[in-house]
Structure formats: C-alpha cells, structure tokens
Subunit: 306 residues, 2 copies
C-alpha cells in the first residue's frame, strides 16, 4: 500500500567531509582543527570517516597533513578511518601510518579520469589491481569509487553499461564495495534507479554505495531512490562541506545532517546523534567563519513553541 | 523491477512565489517588479500562479497592492491566476478585480489557526462555507489549504486523522482540491506517504496537492514520495523564495526550478521551460540584490565542457 516499500533497517553513513569536503576548501584547514572535527564526528556516532588522502602534496595541498592527522587521531575500535590512495606509493604511506581502510578512485569516462588522475580508466584499473592486492595482503579493507557515474563534465551522459563494467572490475580486483558517484550533481531519481537496477543484476546491494552531490537539489531524493533499491551505504559530508564557497554553481556533497534527519524520520537507523553531528559542523563553521550549506544544520530540529 | 513505480505522466506545478514567497520578504516589492515577475513566470510555462492575497493591508503590507497587480496583468486564457481570500470581504475584493480562482487557508491545529487567522479550525471552516459557496456561484474555482499538516510549531506532531477531517470538510464545502502543507518543513518521505495513504482512501488523487518547505532539505524527496502515491499537483516557489533571508533557520518553499529539474529528469512533464523560469527568478534577484536559494537556479544545467 505504501510505495516506499521496504527500506533498509539501517544505513551505513560514510562521512566524507574531512576529505572530499575540506579538499575543496580554498584554504588549508589547520591540522588541529581537522583532528578536532574528525574526533567530534566520531563522537557523533559516525563509524566510517574518510580522513584524508595520500596524494601528491603539491597537487592537493589541503591534504598534505594526512600523515599527521592519522598520527594524532585517537584509536577507536568502532570507527573505520579511511584514506584515499591513488597508487602504490600512496598505499605505502598509508600503511606506514597504520591506516586500516583505503579507497581507490576511478571514473566512468576516460576524459574525467585523464583530467583528474592523469590516466585512462583502464590505466587506473591496472594500477589498482596491484594496489588492492597489496592492501588486502596487509589486512586492509578497500573501497572503490566510480566518479561521474551519471554525468561527466567532459563526455556528457555516462553510459550505464560502462559504469557496470568498471564497478564489476573494481569488485573483481578485490574492493569490498564500490561507491557510484554523481560528481557534478546532475542525476535525478529515475536515472539513479536505472543504473542501480543494472548493477544489482550482478552485484549484491551490500557491495554498492552511493555518493551524491546536491548541486541541483536532487541529492536527498536520490538517496531515497537508492534506499528503495536496497542500497544501505550512503556517503555524506558534515554541513554539506564540499562546494566551493566562491562558485555558487558548485554546491557540494549532500549534507550528513540532512541525510540523517531524513533517514531517522523514516525509521531507518543511522547510529548518528544529530545534535552532536551539528556540534562537529559548527566547530568547522567557527573556524571557516561562514555558515555551511546544510539545511538541517541551519534550521535545527522542528521545535514546539511553548 | 524499478521501485519508483508509475509516476504521473505530468504534474501541475502551482507557482506560489509571488504570494507565499514575496509575502515573507521583509520589504515590499514594487508593483511593477511583481507584475514583470509574474508575466515572466507565465512566459516560462507556469499555468497556475498564486498572485496575491486579499487580506488586511495593515496585517500583510507586502500584499496591499494585489488589486493593482491583477489590474495590470495581461489576461491569458491558458493561465489561472489565484488569490488567497480569508473571508467574504476578501472574496468581494477579488471578484471586483475579475479574479477567477481563489484559495482558502486553514490549518490542522487550532493553535496554528488562532495564531495565523485568528480563529479555530472549525471557525474558519464555518466562514469558508459561505465564501466557497459564493465564489462558486460567481463561477470561480476554489482551492483549499491545510497548513501544518505534519508538524505544528505550537502543537507538535499533527494528527493525520484530524488532517483528513479538515481535508474532507474543505472538499465537502466545495473546494476543487486541497493542498496539504508542511509549513515548517519538518516532514520526511514516509510521514508524507502515511498521510497521503490515509487521505487517498476517501479522496481521488487529483483532488489532493502537496506544498513543501525545504527547511530541513527533505522537500524534493517529499515531492518524489508524493508522486509515488499518485499526487500530481505540487506547489513550488520560483527561486525558492519564501524563506526569511535574515533568519537562516527559516528556509523557504521548495524551489520551482529544482522541482521542474527533478520531474523533467524523470520524464514527468511539467510544461515549464527551465531557462525562462530562471530568467524570471533572476529578474527578482536583480531587484532584491541577492541570490535566491534555489540550487538549480545557482548551478544551471549540467554542462559539457568542450
């Protein structure tokens, strides 16, 4: 009778603010602020947090202190801290920090892969084959990502069959799960379900995650559409960090607060304490000196006037 | 296979920016700007536009020029211009302007009705009985609205059975359809579907509309959830007008641009030309001297770099 159907009972929210969010801030956020932010996110109940990346510091100066961030973070048995690694060199640096979970990123199109990681999709997968094998030998968990899975700023509409091939190859080389990303925030719910339907013919739902940007306002509707397909891993960014504050068009990642508010309101458990999560985002707002775009963060819970 | 199911083939978007939006602007927008805005909305393909209200000008000064706005608007056979009327006196003023469609507003709770229209829900329905009968005798179409249909800032969670009673009574006294409004932007998709499921036991889907605010980011997901229930009338506000720019917590109506982008992306026809709609909103942005919150308006269409 109710067309929402059977949503997952709980969702694993992967917090990407400290990496995907802060990487897009024009200024470097000091290491002590990052560490306080990440600790506050963990205190808020987030169990999967993307902390940083082991990429070339001259290319991504915002992530140059990832080693130091990992060194300072309090070890927590119940939290998985992830780092992005582009190659074996990055993996070695991650391993030296004691990182236990890493992510590898490729794309659905060669044009985007060339522009962002300097190689073709096939080239990146060849690199990742060795990276993932080495990481797994070291006991690490590995996530894979496919960028521009719906729309590529260079090639236009992504081919779902190509997305499927890349997802299958990432799983085949040993990724525990793969996140499909709407990098430019162009997808709408039916396109989301069409791609997921194709993927889920071959892949169990617990090996697929979704990563949405709210550039055109559709991110929460896309999360809902994904849950209806059985997806239970959702990336989100505290405060909606990840847009560029100086480019109004480049609105950022779907906000963790908004995702958690919607899911908990539907009876889908996230394990996240919204009030503590907002405290983490406000810590960052205080440092950045501006409001973050998350709507729930700005509005707070519905209140009853007395 | 695809859980979105059968969405309506087309949706009637009711543009509420000129009334619900501008009413919440701290400063009065000059009549010529309003008229140009409304004409631009009509040129953009919007066929239902809430133009103003015939309320006491000392209470709502932003709407004091509604008579003049109606007088100046170019008559269009294919556009229905609506006005809010609170009582017989307002209806008479509307009729004198040649208004052909009016809306009456009540609430799901007495506390909200008292605070906003100075009477109980029952009291308002008694008034509306004569207003609606008189309007229909004059050949007008009448829409009804139920505010705070999910959450009331005075009484907390609204009782869906009470919402159903009020909806049924508005239809019984002669409203063509009734819009249920999430006035404070608190609802999440499952709550939306639960209320609609209750209403649709007695009422055909084409007599129910939805009116969402994006205060906590859930508005487009709620629109999607409504469409899945067969609802095909959706209120929206150009640019997302309707929040108070000086109260960050009070984010406004769901933006027409974002609604249209999502619906057209799912193959649901709206008849709206997104580019022209954005031109209408930008006309208002130029007057207000600030960006409106609509995400699509800020981002524009997904572009392919060449």
């Amino acid at each position: 009778m109710i067309p929402l159907g059977n949503l997952p009972e709980s969702v694993r929210v992967v917090e990407v603010g400290p990496r995907d969010g802060l990487q897009n801030e024009p200024e470097h956020v000091p290491t002590d602020v990052k560490v306080a932010f990440i600790e506050a996110l963990a205190e808020g109940g987030l169990r999967w947090i993307e902390v940083g990346s082991f990429v070339r510091p001259d290319r991504v100066p915002q992530m140059a202190d990832t080693v130091e961030v990992f060194r300072r973070l309090k070890p927590r048995q119940d939290v998985t801290y992830l780092a992005l690694v582009p190659n074996l060199r990055g993996l070695e640096r991650a391993a030296a920090c004691g990182v236990r979970a890493v992510a590898v990123f490729t794309a659905a199109t060669d044009a985007f892969a060339q522009a962002n990681i300097g190689t073709t999709v096939e080239g990146s997968l060849r690199t990742f084959r060795e990276v993932v094998a080495t990481a797994r030998e070291a006991g690490m968990l590995v996530r894979g990502y496919v960028s521009v899975a719906w729309w590529c700023p260079y090639s236009g509409r992504a081919d779902p069959r190509r997305v499927r091939e890349v997802v299958l190859e990432l799983l085949e080389i040993g990724c525990a799960d793969v996140g499909v990303a709407d990098t430019v925030g162009a997808a709408t719910p039916r396109e989301v379900q069409e791609l997921l339907e194709l993927l889920l013919r071959d892949v169990p739902a617990d090996r697929v995650g979704v990563h949405f940007h709210d550039t055109r306002g559709t991110a929460l509707a896309n999360v809902l559409a994904s849950l209806q397909m059985g997806i239970a891993t959702v990336d989100a960014s505290a405060g909606g960090l990840g847009g560029c504050p100086f480019a109004p068009g480049a609105l950022g990642n779907v906000s963790t607060e908004d995702v958690v508010y919607m899911l908990e309101g539907m009876g889908v458990r996230t394990g996240v304490d919204l009030e503590r999560l907002c405290a983490a985002s406000r810590l960052l707002e205080a440092h950045l000196g501006r409001r973050l775009p998350s709507r729930y963060l700005q509005a707070g819970p519905p209140r009853q006037l007395t």
